[in-house]
Amino acid sequence: MKRLRLSYERRRALTGFLFLLPFIIGALTFFLRPFIGTVVYSLSKIEYGDSGTTVDFLGFKNYTDAFVSNSEFLPAFLDSLGNVLYEVPFILVFSLALAVVLCGEFKGRTFFRAAFFLPLIISTGPAAAAAQGSASGLYSADNSIMMFEAVSIEPLLMSFGLGENFVSTIVGIINNIFNLTLKSGVQILIFIAGIKAIPTYLYEVTQIEGANRWETFWLVTFRMISPMLLINIVYTVIDSFSDVNNPAMKFINTMTQNLKIEIGSAAATVYFISILLLLLIVIGLWNRFLSDDAV
């Protein structure tokens, strides 16, 4: 039998492709196809008849329904975009600072790491609802206010003789910080993994050269974790956009639950294309100014 002859390059490409195959099959089946489905439904009219469901091509009417005839979607959409713009930088700075601190050698760091991981467990799934004693909402972001009532911060502050407006502002800020920190769990872990992968000799060098902590951070830590920074930017943008609590997602979910799947799909498609554009801009800027081999 004659052995198949392939050049080294070809063989490498073939191996690469074989390694990728399980993932590609999975991603195409479970992510790309449903997404295409969403786009198709957004352009169709779905009839639920006795003999089953029929899907007919309709054109862009669902889009005009979502944007023009419906007064709720556009404000929700803009609101969500605005949320992302202020949330993402905060989450990134916060999680990076925390990761740096949590990587340090100090007593109780395992406890603190666990403390920042707890919200991740609590904020996902039904545990959130149960933990906060709420029967209606499955997700925690809106319920955190209730939690602070539970520990009675508000009456406590008022008992110090502070004005009611002032107290509610403070509690509002605390809740916002709480919600943002809730969303930083994954990012902190990714940064910690990044920092832990930095070779220690780089730190030895900066120490020998007499750099202070601030300089060490910018010269070593920040540079070495820049790929993780990009991961976190992308992750945070996507997480923030697809958060079930943001107004646009709420709209999409309500539409789907009320079986107005076409309009929900149209809204989802527009919404997703806009995240895609935002990510393209971010990654484009990143590749232009910060790195040449990130994405």
Partner: protein, 282 residues
Amino acid sequence: MHSRKKFKRQKGGAGFLFVLFVFGSFMTVPFLYAIMQSFKPIQEILIFPPRFYVSSPTLDNFRQLFRSVGGDWIPFGRYVVNSLFVTFTVTVGHIAVSLLAAFPLAKLKFKGSRAIFKLITYSLLFSGPVTAFPQYILMSKIGLIDTYFALILPFVATPMGAFLLKNFLVQIPDSMLEAARIDGASNYRTLFHIVTPNMKPAVLTLVILTFQSVWNGGGTSFVFTEKLKVLPTLLSQIVASGVARMGVGAASAVLMMILPLTVFLITQSQIIETMAFSGIKD
């Protein structure tokens, strides 16, 4: 010679520690509150304004949890076994598939690998409840509805893992892989015996993330048969039954949280500085 002496990082300043402490307490409060709630008798749960501490702790909620579930013919243990099985399979499968995908993307660059990676990045967007309806249709078309596969397969192929690992893998020096190749290691061997141990922090982080997200839910609308259901489904059924079962809900939430927390503590203690770069001059 390269010194292997462990280098101790400087201690965090007092200011940092204070901020850490403040935020850390924010984070632990809901957890402690859930534990408190789970030990409260019903009268205490319903007090308004709610109290943080439990004054007369009881195990009623836990007892009721096992009893109420026991009446539905499916023992509580069955849900636990289902959850364990699904979570374990998904975590192992997801890590394997993601490692396999990340390796060629980072190290075996070939025609189209950049395009595939772009696709992965953007397919991060497709997850989530938006595609729920088409995904359901798809599942029923390929006959996965009401099987374990519906709870497992979509989560194995989540793009998150490949995306994360690829970005860590680029940092592994090429010279290390070349050394392995010269010594006659196959790509498979290089990946699992050389690359993976050297990016332990990333892999373990992915273990934590996958484990907790699968353990806490997902895919539950794809399964109807009671004996195939996982813990989160049971939990949401309990929670949905209203105020009277708030304590039971808290009890089950506490039970749910124990395992991910354990996994977290174990894996985090394993995340130490890797020696990926030591001894290699670039």
